[in-house]
Symmetry: C2
């Protein structure tokens, strides 16, 4: 039997493929055709996209943006099993986007209907949360966490070192299940 751990799981770019929606927004704004698969393993995001992305970032405040983000491949199966075997909390930095709050509850109800409202946290600064494992794509969330840290591979964190990087949900299953 595995030891039950409190696992803190991020939504955007971990459970939800938010980068895909952001690239869609970017490509439609600039007439480009960047694809997530081709950006992973490179620093093209940092070097060519990030600065211009800031100018279309207002799209993230629009109603409907977060509600329509696709689920990350593999997330449903692995989160289901983690939820059964561990003490899982979904912790999303969402208060910057007030429209996203209810949308994120609805999104979770669609893809992860077993997740109880007691297990949802919407915040801004994740240094307030404690747990045994944090899965996140941003150093600003991971750095102050006291437990095990898993960096979820994302187009915007390719240059980041010093963290245990997981490429996908299958790798998380290998580590935690």
């Amino acid at each position: 039997m595995i030891e039950k751990k409190r696992i803190v799981i991020d939504m955007d770019d971990v459970m939800a493929d938010t980068s895909q929606s952001i690239l869609d927004l970017y490509n439609s704004s600039y007439g480009t055709n960047y694809q997530k698969e081709k950006l992973l393993g490179t620093t093209i995001w940092d070097e060519q996209i990030r600065d211009k992305y800031i100018k279309v970032r207002h799209g993230l405040y629009e109603p409907g943006f977060f509600r329509n983000v696709p689920v990350m491949p593999g997330a449903i199966d692995v989160v289901t099993e983690l939820y059964e075997k561990h003490d899982v909390f979904i912790v999303s930095a969402a208060t910057e986007f007030p429209n996203s709050l209810k949308e994120k509850v609805e999104w979770l109800a669609q893809y992860f209907p077993f997740i109880h409202w007691q297990k949802m946290v919407f915040c801004g600064d994740k240094s307030i949360v404690k747990g045994d494992v944090m899965i996140d794509d941003h150093e600003k969330n991971l750095f102050s966490f006291k437990g095990q840290k898993l960096l979820f591979d994302a187009i915007h964190n390719q240059a980041l070192t010093g963290y245990e990087r997981v490429k996908n949900w299958e790798e998380i299953a290998e580590i935690l299940l």
Copy 2:
């Protein structure tokens, strides 16, 4: 100079006078005239109101309920000063009420416009948060907290013992400022 502490402050029945709105809902549903001032110091809530309140509790899920709750007397002045001198987080158990999430952001913007989105946390189970001081009206939130616990006096916690009870925001100022 005072030592800077991370202070976790609840919204309902601490910053916001939610019991007043609940009593209004109750009184209008049952034709009664219960008044908060007369219930404090008694266990009338536990003995006569709580069971019947459960039947009108669905009103808390309605759009607009949390947006229209009055601010707790004294809260604005004291939270303003705490925010300047300490590391304040607003932590509200709100995910049970998805409509309340954006309303609570808007409510904070109305009465406490200086509170940054990074300092807001909307969750269900507060055992996920850590800090130095927690101000809350519910034992379920206080009991697992590791720091100093201040129980905010409320009509539904009159029988609760074992916690440092504060009657109002002026008493919090005396302790923390």
